[in-house]
């Protein structure tokens, strides 16, 4: 009996080692934009993961719970038919590593002494060091600069038309200042992406502007048609006996 229990103990110990070895193997996938919307794979219930990821590209292919890690979106003008609490977002602030520091370490509520008085763009070497995109800001093609979108004294906030701070989790209120047509389509569910319930009044997780677009370089020099290029998933299986996909082009269609 004693021997059996010792064996069982050893077995359980080994099992624990194996399971802990598996647990350490952390899989990180990305939701829409690589480097900006990462999510760690885990089990919500045994055998029911929060996400399933593509083995080839690392993209999230499937959500076990579309509302995992979300918070209420906050007020959006004219979004009246959606009951409160049914529009949720994943906070962007959690993804921005230096954001908590911005408003305390350097921009602690005072106007920086080096701030130009005439609103003309000026190179800021510190920020260019922290954020390479700032060096040659593409958004606006040189017609706008940092403080057109970021608040002057509260640098971890965005800014609205009246100079009031906006949460970094509600970029739509900032982007809508110029891109009103896109804002309208987004509010109606035509532009952009939402997951969750399909009913027009149902609970949805909304993807905000900056989850899909890089706000400092929306156009991205290497892009071809509106989106940053990304790696595609594997093509379908070729029909039986077909060696490659070019057989129809041997007679020169083009």
């Amino acid at each position: 009996m004693k021997k059996l229990s010792i064996t069982a103990l050893i077995f359980a110990f080994c099992l624990g080692m194996v399971s802990s070895a598996f647990a350490e193997e952390e899989v990180t996938c990305f939701e829409s934009r690589k480097g900006a919307s990462e999510v760690v794979k885990r089990d919500l219930q045994p055998g029911w993961p929060n996400v399933k990821c593509s083995p080839k590209t690392g993209a999230v292919l499937w959500w076990g719970d579309p509302f995992d890690g979300t918070v209420p979106m906050g007020d959006t003008p004219l979004l009246t038919h959606v009951p409160p609490g049914n529009a949720v977002v994943k906070p962007r602030s959690a993804k921005l590593a230096i954001l908590p520091l911005c408003g305390t370490a350097c921009h602690n509520g005072v106007i920086p002494p080096t701030l130009p008085k005439d609103k003309k763009p000026k190179a800021i070497p510190t920020m260019e060091g922290l954020l390479p995109d700032a060096k040659n800001l593409q958004h606006g093609r040189g017609r706008i600069w940092c403080l057109d979108c970021h608040h002057t004294t509260q640098r971890n906030k965005l800014v609205d038309n009246f100079g009031d701070p906006l949460s970094i989790d509600q970029p739509q209120l900032l982007c809508g200042k110029c891109h009103g047509d896109k804002m309208r389509d987004w509010r109606d569910g035509i532009h952009g992406k939402r997951i969750g319930e399909w009913a027009s009044t149902g609970k949805k997780r909304w993807f905000t502007c900056t989850e899909c677009h890089n706000p400092h370089n929306v156009q991205d020099g290497a892009r071809n048609r509106g989106f940053i290029q990304l790696e595609p998933e594997l093509p379908p299986q070729l029909p039986k006996g077909m060696k490659d996909a070019k057989h129809e082009l041997v007679h020169g269609v083009h």
């Binding site: 829409s32 934009r33 055998g47 399933k52 593509s54 993209a59 999230v60 292919l61 499937w62 959500w63 579309p66 038919h81 389509d185 109606d188 569910g189 035509i190 532009h191 952009g192 992406k193 939402r194 997951i195 969750g196 319930e197 399909w198 009913a199 027009s200 009044t201 149902g202 993807f207 899909c212 071809n224 048609r225 509106g226 989106f227 290029q229 990304l230 790696e231 595609p232 998933e233 594997l234 093509p235 379908p236 299986q237 070729l238 029909p239 039986k240 006996g241 077909m242 490659d244 996909a245 070019k246 057989h247 129809e248 082009l249 007679h251 020169g252 269609v253 083009h254």
Partner: protein, 318 residues
């Protein structure tokens, strides 16, 4: 006809098998057309399948039977200008809908196909050239460049990154026609249009004759020529009888707008996964739904509209 099935049944009865799987198969073999079953029979059929799938895949599998809700007509819209051809919808569909995913020929089934199309052009040096050579028929693009043809190879593009400069992409799957040719030709009436829109298949009643595959103008249907390869850990245990429950060899399957999700209110898997938000789904009878707003506001077309199949799948562009 009578002989083979009756003998098999009699054999199973005489063997007095305790094997639950054999009993389930016996009952399954003689079950009726799903549409003609009583609610009681439907529940029994689903419970049988739950038992069999749970044993087969080693986990608790549910087979749902939620019926169509009144006041719902499902509709779908896809922004062809936005699609970048990344094929995430194709793979998400496989994750959700329990398709076969083996390596041998015919073992890998995908319901969505993404066509890569060359862009047409009107360039000065081609103005005096005639009609496209090689095919002899104008099927797309313009008079000078035969763009937009669908060749076998155009499904199989494999660049390092998408979107490519000279290409547009057009995903196609089942269009859930209001007048579906596949339903007209089915000799056993196992495929039919549900009251809330989607065209579904009772896999148990399918004889695998593939008439529907020939009739479908959108190449939307697939047949399990081999035994489906579906690993236990990859199997999605939340299923619907008319939706993503595991299929057997010799039956036809196709997109059903993720019935197991949409009947419970959730978006289809392909809508949720699209990284550019090109895919939209909603209730056509609700004027506030995103699909209704797209129909009201955007430029919309249906694929092969001249065939009068009246798809509920709309393509649009900004």
């Amino acid at each position: 006809m009578l002989g083979v099935s009756s003998l098999m049944g009699a054999g199973a009865l005489m063997a007095q098998s305790d094997n639950a799987q054999a009993a389930a198969e016996w009952a399954e073999h003689f079950q009726g057309n799903y549409r003609l079953m009583s609610p009681q029979e439907k529940a029994e059929a689903r419970a049988r399948l739950e038992r069999r799938y749970s044993a087969e895949y080693g986990k608790k599998v549910t087979v749902d039977g939620t019926e169509a809700q009144p006041g719902v007509l499902m509709g779908y819209a896809l922004n062809v200008r936005k699609c970048i051809g990344c094929r995430r919808c194709v793979k998400a569909c496989v994750e959700e809908n329990n398709q076969s995913r083996g390596e041998k020929p015919g073992e890998r089934i995908e319901w969505i196909q993404v066509l890569r199309m060359e862009r047409g052009e009107f360039s000065k040096d081609k103005m005096n050239q005639g009609y496209p050579e090689g095919l002899g028929i104008q099927v797309g693009g313009n008079a000078y460049t035969p763009a937009g043809q669908v060749l076998e190879g155009q499904y199989h593009y494999e660049p390092k990154a998408v979107p490519e400069k000279e290409a547009t992409y057009m995903p196609i799957a089942c269009m859930q026609c209001e007048k579906p040719p596949c339903v007209k030709v089915c000799p056993v009436r196992t495929t039919y249009r549900e009251a809330d829109g989607p065209v579904v298949i009772d896999y148990n009643w399918c004889i695998g004759c593939r008439m529907c595959m020939s009739a479908c103008p959108y190449w939307a249907r697939r047949i399990n020529l081999t035994n489906p390869v579906l690993p236990n850990e990859a199997m999605n245990p939340v299923t619907h009888y008319l939706g993503n429950r595991p299929r057997m060899r010799g039956v036809v399957e196709k997109c059903h707008w993720c019935l197991q999700r949409t009947r419970k209110g959730r978006y289809p898997a392909c809508v949720e996964v699209c990284p550019v938000g090109a895919r939209k789904f909603g209730n056509l009878l609700d004027p506030e739904s995103e699909v209704s707003l797209i129909l009201a506001r955007k430029n919309v077309f249906r694929l092969k509209a001249e065939l009068n199949t009246f798809p509920k799948f709309f393509y649009f562009y900004d």
